[in-house]
């Protein structure tokens, strides 16, 4: 694809997205476009389908209907092309409790094809940025929820993804942790971002677009 055409293409384009759980539609008719480098903030009450939307974009759930194009890959058919380009921060930190933070990050680095000195340098850089360098050898089970969230943020950006899918990224973080998070996954980090939040005051100033999901209502983009 020519460079100019590539730049014009939205990083994420969703049209008529539907996801059913049995007889219940968690998402119905959701559509939006997100330009590369921009931030979409997703708002809505509990049960509106915010996490479901994020998991579909992360290739972790299959849509029941509609069209989803992420970084030029049509989901779910081309999901395999997309993996490795996404940084996903969900409700769970995706860290093994019996391994240390460093061991977890080494494991994820290897899964993403980062090995040796490059992996070690990247891990130390992220641990220092997250303020976790001194606790990196502690077992995850022994860390507080906030420290696990900091490690999860390190895991999320470890492989330098193009698109960040963030579900309540500030949860459990103290002021210092929020500052570290802003540096690693904030608007200045250079990523295209989809942020699910219940804290519009915190995230709306960073938003280029806002998607409001309602229960039994059509999604609204502003």
């Amino acid at each position: 694809m020519p460079e100019s055409q590539d730049q014009e293409r939205p990083a994420v384009a969703v049209a008529g997205l539907r996801r059913d759980y049995g007889d219940r539609a968690a998402l119905d008719g959701v559509g939006f476009e997100l330009a590369a480098g921009a931030t979409l903030v997703v708002l809505g009450p509990n049960g509106a389908g915010k996490t479901t939307l994020l998991r579909i974009l992360a290739t972790l759930l299959r849509p029941s209907g509609g069209e989803v194009l992420v970084l030029g890959c049509a989901l779910p058919k081309e999901a395999w092309k997309l993996r490795g380009k996404i940084g996903y921060l969900g409700h769970e930190p995706l860290l093994y409790r019996d391994l240390s933070g460093r061991e977890n990050l080494r494991f994820h680095a290897r899964l993403h094809g980062i090995a040796g000195a490059a992996a070690e340098a990247r891990i130390e850089e992220l641990l220092a940025a997250a303020g976790m360098d001194r606790r990196g050898d502690d077992r995850v089970a022994d860390l507080s929820a906030g420290m696990r969230q900091r490690l999860a943020i390190c895991r999320c950006v470890l492989h330098r993804p193009e698109l960040l899918l963030l579900d309540e990224p500030d949860s459990n973080l103290d002021a210092e942790g929020r500052e570290a998070a802003r540096e690693l996954i904030g608007p200045g980090s250079g990523h295209t971002r989809v942020v699910v939040t219940h804290d519009p005051e915190r995230f709306l100033p960073e938003a280029d677009a806002v998607l409001r999901l309602g229960i039994g209502e059509a999604a609204a983009v502003t």
């Binding site: 972790l60 299959r62 490795g84 019996d98 494991f107 290897r110 899964l111 094809g113 090995a115 895991r155």
Partner: protein, 226 residues
């Protein structure tokens, strides 16, 4: 795409490191086997076993001990988000099947290194059967690992996991156990080891291993879908 050998080594290394640190599976498997041998020894009131009885005692014990490890094979992936992490990585998902099966083989070999010598001390008059028995153990372990990994990955999402694994696994391994006991029986006859139909049973074991390894490799990707 991350090379499969790199992803395989990463997942296997992670599993073995976790097990060494927590000892959640192996001690339980070994303790079960030793306890079962003690019960057999006093229940049967025999200081020596041979032939089909020896073979049956050995394989019944190893099978039920293996179920304990199979039950826990995917628990960390389920409870700590490992499934999601692996699904987000640019790897062939069937690598997870291969790495988990390899981890289970390591557990089974470790179990047998403890249980088989104890079995020999408790029940065998001679250690001559142990050499050729290694071949039967290896082939049976491969089959148990293939089918066990498959069943464990399906059952882990169920709240009745501990019930589901034996209910589904045990009928599926009946052919494997028939072949394993059939191959082991002549090795443990009085004055043995004998080799009556030994080669045939080994071929049955090999065929079973191949079939379930191919089924596991082929369907595992679909099992990881939501």
């Amino acid at each position: 795409m991350t090379p499969s050998r790199v992803a395989f080594a990463a997942i296997l290394g992670k599993d073995l490191r976790s097990e060494l640190r927590t000892l959640q599976s192996l001690p339980a498997m070994a303790l079960f086997a030793v306890t079962a041998f003690i019960i057999f020894r006093f229940g049967l009131d025999r200081t020596s076993l041979s032939g089909s009885l020896a073979s049956g005692v050995l394989w019944a014990t190893l099978l039920f001990a293996a179920v304990l490890g199979i039950n826990r094979l995917f628990v960390a992936e389920r409870e700590e988000g490992g499934f999601d992490a692996i699904r987000l990585a640019p790897i062939d998902r069937s690598v997870l099947f291969a790495a988990k099966a390899a981890a289970l083989i390591v557990y089974l070999v470790a179990l047998e290194l403890i249980a088989v010598p104890i079995f020999a001390v408790f029940f065998l008059d001679s250690a001559a059967a142990l050499g050729p028995l290694v071949l039967v153990l290896v082939l049976t372990d491969l089959g148990l690992a293939a089918v066990g990994t498959l069943i464990s990955s399906m059952a882990v999402n169920s709240r009745a996991r501990d019930l589901l694994v034996p209910l589904v696994l045990l009928p599926l391994v009946v052919p494997l156990m028939i072949a394993a006991t059939g191959a082991t029986e002549p090795l443990m006859i009085v004055g043995g080891p004998g080799y009556h139909r030994f080669g045939t049973w080994l071929m049955v074991l090999g065929l079973y291993d191949l079939i379930f390894a191919l089924i596991g490799w082929a369907v595992f990707d679909f099992l990881l879908e939501d």
